[in-house]
């Protein structure tokens, strides 16, 4: 696929996330140019069913991020449950068990903010369905450092609080339905 203008795509999703992600990730081709990192709020003791399931349905390799792992094309990384996922300046992941942020660990803000620091204007952030405010500060940071932010249309989101909070906090670039988000990623729009 033709190179996107973004070196990393970070996605934040909560309530209804499994379904929403299921409509995006399996649509992406094997040569999709940017690595993708996802924070999905989960119950602390949930297992990696989501990861295994999504991996089976996708052409890209879906896995949990390991600490010190380098972000690579062809991979979709999930934050492990109960750990914050951070991106370092050398484009590797690190994990932390620091306090909850926005009542969550992993927290979307932590991933988004560190992605923005490491990739600056080459960061694409996507906020999907969710019933809390996590991700809005991170979206703001991505915009501050020149990246792009897309938010799922609250009207069509299973839970609209998180998309609305992001739209309110940051000057987001696009508000789109899931299928349009896929089109954007595939450079069809």
């Amino acid at each position: 696929m033709e190179k996107l203008d973004y070196e990393v795509i970070v996605i934040g999703v909560s309530t209804g996330g499994m379904k929403a992600l299921g409509e995006i990730i399996p649509e992406l081709p094997l040569d999709f140019p940017s690595p993708i990192a996802i924070v999905q709020h989960l119950h602390p003791c949930s297992d990696d069913f989501l990861v295994t399931d999504l991996n089976e349905r996708s052409k890209l390799t879906v896995k949990q991020a390991d600490e010190k792992e380098k972000l690579k094309q062809g991979f979709v990384y999930f934050a492990p449950s109960n750990y914050h996922l951070l991106i370092e300046n050398d484009k590797t992941f690190s994990l932390s068990v620091n306090d909850l942020v926005n009542f969550a660990r992993p927290a979307i803000d932590v991933l988004f903010e560190t992605a923005a620091e490491a990739f600056k204007e080459k960061t694409l952030g996507i906020v999907l369905t969710g019933a809390n405010h996590d991700g809005s500060q991170g979206a703001k940071k991505i915009k501050e450092y020149g990246g792009l932010v897309i938010v799922q249309d609250p009207e069509s989101a299973e839970a609209d609080i998180m998309p609305r909070a992001a739209i309110e906090a940051a000057k987001v670039d696009f508000v789109l339905d899931l299928d349009k988000i896929v089109d954007f990623l595939l450079k069809k729009i």
Binding site: D66, E67, K68, P80, Y83, H84, L86, I87, E88, N89, S94, L95, S96, V97, N98, D99, V110, E113, T114, E117, A118, K120, E121, Y145, G146
Partner: protein, 274 residues
């Protein structure tokens, strides 16, 4: 993006200052997390830049101590990752039973919850009386708390659940006494534990351990520092000693990888073979 670059330089200088002035070495900690904490602290002060913080750190010990607390993430639980403790009991305890005397080192013990968890297991397995436990951390404020062995009452429910999932044999209530809004760890669990100050970034080896636990500490370290710590553990344990890491930690990037073999991979329990 000059703002980010300036901040990165400032972070570097701040960590260098802390090292030279106070001897605490955070220079080889994972940056993203350290930077977040610095900026979090900055937002709580009236200072505008990290450079201004640098002056404050140099001239105000109290401020440095606050920052030190910010840097040492002390989040912990009793029987955190219950399956780990369950496997420890099943796979490691039977081997430990064969030794006449046991030495165990908890590195980065935070407020002690993990140490007391292991103490409970040792007690239930009848090994506690022949065991000496060394629990260390580089943060003295935290160590002081660890010694007291006080757990907030609102955690008891979670810990009881963890204890059961970890294969606990008694009632968890046997191990604490409730007082007002907190619970006090049973005195009998404390007698075999020595708490002391030890910094994995700057201090040396510790003695002939049979078992070393260092969980969720090295995820904050860059590769070089991880190597240092793992080397330290290797040199501080007897041959065939056990090393336990956090669920998301590994020896994969370390130069000592081949000196250990996994006992139970998923539980991150290793054994020294060289």
């Amino acid at each position: 993006m000059s703002k980010i670059e300036n901040e990165n330089i400032e972070v570097e200088l701040l960590l260098e200052t802390i090292f030279q002035k106070y001897g605490y070495d955070f220079r080889y900690y994972s940056r993203a997390s350290i930077k977040r904490r610095i900026k979090h602290r900055l937002a709580l002060t009236k200072l505008n830049t990290i450079s201004e913080m640098l002056g404050q750190v140099l001239y105000d010990v109290k401020f440095f101590e606050t920052l030190l607390l910010d840097f040492s993430v002390n989040v912990t639980e009793m029987f955190r990752d219950p399956f780990f403790f369950k496997i420890l009991r099943k796979e490691v305890i039977p081997v430990l039973r064969t030794y006449p005397f046991l030495k165990i080192w908890h590195a980065g013990c935070a407020t002690g919850e993990e140490v007391y968890s292991l103490a409970i297991i040792l007690k239930e397995e009848g090994l506690y009386d022949k065991t000496q436990i060394y629990a260390t951390d580089f943060n003295e404020v935290i160590l002081h708390k660890a010694k007291q062995g006080i757990i907030p009452l609102d955690q008891i429910k979670q810990y009881t659940l963890n204890y059961q999932k970890a294969g606990g044999k008694e009632s968890f209530a046997n191990y604490y006494t409730a007082k007002y809004d907190s619970a006090l760890i049973d005195q009998s669990l404390k007698k075999g534990i020595v708490f002391s100050d030890h910094n994995l970034a700057t201090d040396g080896v510790f003695g002939e351990m049979n078992l070393i636990l260092c969980r969720n500490v090295m995820i904050y370290f860059q590769k070089e520092l991880q190597n240092r710590a793992i080397g330290l553990f290797k040199d501080s344990m007897c041959n065939l000693g056990f090393l336990c890491l956090g669920t998301k930690e590994s020896l994969m990037f370390s130069e000592y990888e081949n000196d250990f073999e996994p006992v139970v991979k998923k539980a991150k329990i290793f054994r020294r073979i060289k």
